[in-house]
Structures are given as structure tokens and as C-alpha cells.
Amino acid sequence: MSGINRNQMAWRAAQDIEDGMIVNLGMGLPVLAGDYVPDGRDVFIHAENGVIGCGPLATPEAADTDLVDAGSRRITLRPGASIVDSTASFAMIRGGHIDVTVLGAFQVAANGDLANWDMRLPEKGPLVGGAMDLAACARAVWVIMEHTTRKGEPRLLQACTLPLTAVRCVTRIFTDLAVIDVIDAGFLVREIAPGITQEELQAKSGAPLHFAADCRTIAAPELAESV
């Protein structure tokens, strides 16, 4: 039971990014989703450090120390991009001006609670960054994550056990096994990876799953897993 690969997960999330949206992408898989936004959809990617309209990564020759995203990556600007300071950038986030944020996560609860910032690493200091602002205030909060931990423990839970990022915020989850909405009744499976049964999915989840009447198979193209 393998599910879809990480590039396919990013691809699948990207399909739901709508034309004209302002989108904030967390590090890792969410940023990768940015590369798979379908052609013809005009999207502004926001970075917490104030860039409104991130373009592709800069080539080594074009790289500029001052033109970076929140992950310190040297980027370019898309046409129509602008840049504001941190106060204005977070005013924009908190004020509900980000249409969707796509975040990584450790755990999501059936009521939409999100835990994505603190794994309780005993040796490391805490790092919250803009995660709480984005999770609490973006109009839609989507998560991309593996359906279970490496040890096989479920990440979809009745209640999160790790420290929360924000309460009742997640609206959609893209995993290697399914696409799941969070609704009042809990987890609603919309799509399921090829070859996975509903029973198998439930067995890998820590809270009851509802299945949409029109629940279908995730239709992702073949995409080689990046190294």
C-alpha cells in the first residue's frame, strides 16, 4: 500500500489553487505545490517576509541577497509583484487577505485543530515563525502531509497530542493516501489514492472517516519522486 508520491501530493494540492488567488506556501511540500499550479492560472504567492508575488528561484547569476523569501531562498519577482515590511505582511495575513495557505503538519484533529510547529524536540529551541498567524487567519488552511508518521502512527486524530498551532482552522488535507475535507462532522474523504480501500484508510487514521458519496480515486499524473 504505497499511495501517491510526494511530487504527486504537491501536484494534487496545486490543482485546487484557483485562478487569481493569493497563496502562502509553507516550506517543503507546500512550496513544491507552487511549481504545479496549472498553466493559465494567475496566482500571487505571498511570503511572510513581505513579498507579494514570488517568482521562480533566482539563477545563481541573478541571485540577490536582498530578494529572498521567508525561507531565505533567493527568488525572483513575478510581474506585478510588490514588497512590504513585516508589520504590513502580517497585517495582510491576520486581516484575512491570504486566500489560502498550504502548510505542512504533524497532526490534524477532526475539528480542524492543527499541530505543525513543535515536535517537542528535546534538544532544540522552539520555532513558530509565521505558522500560527497563517493557520489562524488565512481564509482557507490546507495541509499537505504523509497520512501517518514513519512509525505508522496516524496523523489524523480525534485530538492533537502535539502542541497546537491554531484551533479549528484546517479545511482540507492532502496526504499520500487521500484528499480529505474537515467539516462539522469531522473528516470527509473526497478522494482516495489508487489501490487503497476505505477500510485500509480508516485503519491508518486516528479518528472516524466519513466518505463522500462521490468519493473518487485521486487522478495524479506519473511524476518521478525527487531525490
Partner: protein
């Protein structure tokens, strides 16, 4: 006497800063770190500093030099984790209880500093509600949502980096260089900017992103090393 905020050397720009100072330091995502000023502060050999800085440790910043020198009592930040495999200088001292840590959501961190410069003693934000970062903080419901009360941050010294300045302390930033700098400059008693270049003529009005009114001293340091 014509206003002139230019200072020849970074060391002189630190005049008057004392033990126990609350120091606001700009920089985020790799841009806008006032590294020349941080080193000048370090060379003063002060004690018990509180650093208000987005990252306790960042690979493009030299705040770790202040921490390694044992000059820091407390850090207020949104990111307290080093990039390297091992413990950062901050993490090591924090684990030993030698440095106090206040970790804040980044937007609350920014807004608290903005509030400090804007005469707002406290404000409500939805961010952090229901999380351990809001533990012990006052909460209140407005409409159908719960909010956390956050209070203002002010400082004794702000160290920020910009691209260009003039004698009046007016500043222009490049790309994402501004980040926390403009807010920090408004929230500190003494605000110092390092810039690539100080122009002889006043900056043109549309180019000015932070009014010199908020800057006390400006030092030209050339390009980032």
C-alpha cells in the same frame, strides 16, 4: 544647526548604550541584518542585554556572537532553533537556563513592536488563541471569535539595515530588506541604521521608506560582506 545624523564609525553609533539594554535587531529571510552594528555592539562588552530579534540564531546574522560572548540575558523571537545539526549557541545556553526565552508568533512579534512605536499599549489578536504560546495571556471574545491580548514592545536601542540614507536619517530599502526594521526604528529610544551608502543629497520624497524622524544615527558600511 543643520540636522546631520551621520556617524563616521559603527563604534561611535553605540555611544550611550548600557548594560541591560533592550535591543531590537532587524533581519528576516536572509535580508536586512545589521551585522556591522551587531559587531560594534558586541565590542562594547555589555551585559544582560535583551535581544528582540526574529531569529535567535540565523545563518546570515551574527547575533550568535553576542550570545557566545555571554552578553545576552533574554531573547524575544519567533524562531529559536539553529539551522545546524548541533545545538546553536543560543540553544545551548537556553537549555542550561542561562538565557531566558520568549517565543512569539511572528505576526504578534511584529505587531507588538509596531504598537510600541505607535502609542498602542495593547491590542487583541486571534493568533495564538488556544495554543501554549498564549498560556497565561488574557483572552477575550469579540463577536464569534476568541482573541489574545498582546502588549507593546519598546526598546532602548534599534539596530537596522537599509540600502541608502541621507544626512536626515531618511532611509530607502532594497526588496525584502525592510522586514522588521521600520517598526523597530519607531519603537526604540535610540535607533541606528547601517546602510550601504549615505547620499550627499537628500533622498527624493517618493524614495523614502522610513522617515529620518525615527532614526538617530546612520553609518555607511558598504555592501554586505
Amino acid at each position: 544647526m543643520p540636522i546631520d545624523k551621520r556617524v563616521a564609525a559603527a563604534a561611535a553609533a553605540m555611544d550611550g548604550v548600557r548594560d541591560g539594554a533592550v535591543v531590537l535587531i532587524s533581519g528576516f529571510g536572509g535580508a536586512g541584518f545589521p551585522n556591522v552594528l551587531i559587531r560594534a555592539l558586541c565590542e562594547r562588552g555589555l551585559r544582560d542585554l535583551t535581544l528582540v530579534v526574529n531569529s535567535a540564531t540565523h545563518r546570515y546574522s551574527v547575533t550568535h556572537e553576542l550570545i557566545e560572548a555571554g552578553q545576552v540575558r533574554k531573547v524575544v523571537c519567533s524562531a529559536a532553533r539553529g539551522h545546524a545539526k548541533g545545538l546553536s549557541a543560543f540553544e545551548e545556553r537556553w537549555k542550561k537556563g542561562e538565557i531566558e526565552l520568549e517565543c512569539l508568533p511572528q505576526g504578534s512579534f511584529a505587531e507588538k513592536i509596531r504598537a510600541g512605536g505607535a502609542g498602542i499599549p495593547a491590542f487583541y489578536t486571534p493568533v495564538g488563541f488556544g495554543t501554549e504560546l498564549a498560556a497565561g495571556k488574557e483572552t477575550r471574545r469579540f463577536g464569534d471569535r476568541d482573541y489574545v491580548l498582546e502588549t507593546a514592545i519598546t526598546g532602548d536601542l534599534a539596530l537596522i539595515r537599509a540600502d541608502r540614507a541621507d544626512r536626515y536619517g531618511n532611509l530607502a530599502f532594497r526588496y525584502a530588506q525592510a522586514n522588521f526594521g521600520p517598526a523597530m526604528a519607531t519603537a526604540a529610544r535610540l535607533s541606528v541604521a547601517e546602510v550601504r551608502i549615505i547620499e550627499d543629497a537628500p533622498l527624493a520624497q517618493p524614495d523614502i521608506q522610513l522617515a529620518g524622524a525615527f532614526i538617530d544615527r546612520v553609518v555607511a558600511v558598504g555592501d554586505m560582506p
